[in-house]
Subunit: 293 residues, 2 copies
């Protein structure tokens, strides 16, 4: 595949940033990769694993000659982190992100970046509950979906190049309004994470008589709480940055929960049957959808 960018700076060489580094290098999409982050231990892991060619803590050095700046940091930190690079980035350098919330990020970055630095909002929908460069792997993105959220202000050429990058590492790429993205992700990702944290906390609260409930948990519980191990800052920021859509999603969940609760309280076979059957048929539809892609 042709080289898309000469020098990629990954800000935040974690699961997403690190996996992109591995994948982009393996496919020959970038010539050089520079790591930037807060924790030297993590950057050393990234260097040892061949994710990056070098790392630096100097924004000016990182910015020099860069034509792609990837922000793979918690969404609330993006503006502050980017501010360090802006004075040093060459005109035309594409700035993009991998955040799970798009409206707040795109609005902030478009208002903040000079017109010489085109911004493209992106969200590769891939990940695990793991964090850090040690958890990165080159195949993370293969066959998965990446949503780009351009606006009327988005530079078409920058958009095309960011699309080519994510397609280059094996993703299917779709464009979507940032607000729609946030509506959708609130429901299929942010709410499920909030539920997983809550379920884990509810179990902790229920410990009694020296009985450790977790000893008796099976695979259903294990799967449903897997993402409760996800990084704190990342998820705190997502919850705060997608507040309205998340609260709406939560309200719908509470309503669905109340339906089943009513069925249990009243011992109402019909209510329970209807709710469970609807859930089962949706789940089967979901499994078929995934099998097709």
């Amino acid at each position: 595949m042709a080289v898309l960018f000469h020098r990629l700076v990954i800000v935040g060489v974690g699961l997403i940033g690190g996996s992109l580094g591995l994948a982009a290098r393996a496919r020959g999409l970038v010539e050089e990769i520079v790591g930037f982050g807060r924790t030297e231990a993590n950057l050393r892991v990234a260097l040892e694993r061949g994710i990056i060619d070098r790392y630096t803590f100097d924004p000016a050095e990182a910015a020099r000659g860069t034509d792609l700046l990837l922000l793979a940091v918690p969404v609330a930190a993006m503006q502050q982190v980017t501010a360090q690079f802006v004075p040093f980035l060459p005109p035309g350098c594409v700035v993009t992100d991998a955040g799970s919330v798009k409206e707040a990020v795109v609005r902030t970055m478009e208002a903040f970046l000079p017109p010489t630095l085109p911004f493209v909002g992106a969200h590769p929908i891939a990940g695990t509950e793991q964090a850090g460069a040690a958890a990165a792997f080159a195949t993370l993105f293969e066959g998965r979906l990446c949503l780009l959220t351009p606006t009327p202000r988005t530079d078409p050429q920058a958009l095309a190049r960011v699309r080519a990058l994510w397609e280059g590492v094996g993703m299917r790429v779709e464009e979507m309004e940032a607000a729609t993205h946030d509506y959708v992700l609130a429901r299929v990702s942010h709410l499920p994470h909030l539920i997983a944290f809550s379920l884990m906390n509810a179990t902790r609260a229920a410990a009694r008589d020296g009985l450790d409930l977790l000893v008796y948990a099976g695979s259903a519980f294990a799967d449903m709480t897997r993402v409760a191990a996800s990084p704190l800052e990342m998820w705190r920021d997502i919850f705060l940055s997608n507040r309205e859509a998340l609260l709406n999603a939560l309200a719908d969940f509470e309503q669905a929960l109340a339906q089943l609760k009513t069925g249990v309280e009243r011992g109402d076979v019909e209510i329970l049957t209807a709710a469970i059957e609807q859930a089962r048929s949706e789940r089967y539809r979901f499994v078929r959808l995934r099998e097709r892609t």
Copy 2:
């Protein structure tokens, strides 16, 4: 391993019943296995897969010469299903179950069975969201936990033989009060299933503008809704039979959910940090627990 039972009748040759058949045969724990159920197509699958030696729809024929009757049917159906066999079962035949609710089942069966038919309440904590003989596999129980819920009325010899059976197929076996079992399982299994059904239904309710949310769901959503495909009757019965414990567990979950909701509503970093950190540390503890067993 020594033969524990000469003739095992499996009532309900589904995932649990069928897997026990495969595992017990592979380990030489039973000499003959007879299938009994509602659906001939499923019993034929069981026969073809070598789970059972034969099947019958005649309770008298099934009961003849049987020394273990395994009830692997939805909990609300157990009494009615067992009633067909009682007139024909030889004295001393052990009756046991594999239900996920124990207090209601044990109470019902002890009141219902004659003293000549010892009952042992059991719950092998293993399973997938799949159902039917086609989904059964011999290794399902290996390394997993089986809870037995004897009462003062339980025949010690029958208890020992049922313990030997589940240990024989690779399970760790613990004894527990039926009420404690139901308290624990409400929290680590029944509540998570109820949540999975609700999450699936909430997503369905949220479809808008021809947008199919499920297309955008990633692995978090996939894992959290896996068990929403679980069998209707089984879970309807569990919810109804473990009503009180489930409602208590649900109340604790609603409280944990409300904590995170408050954090989001108020944009309160401290509340969110505390709730997410607590969930993360519990999840890590759970992962360590599972690695040890």
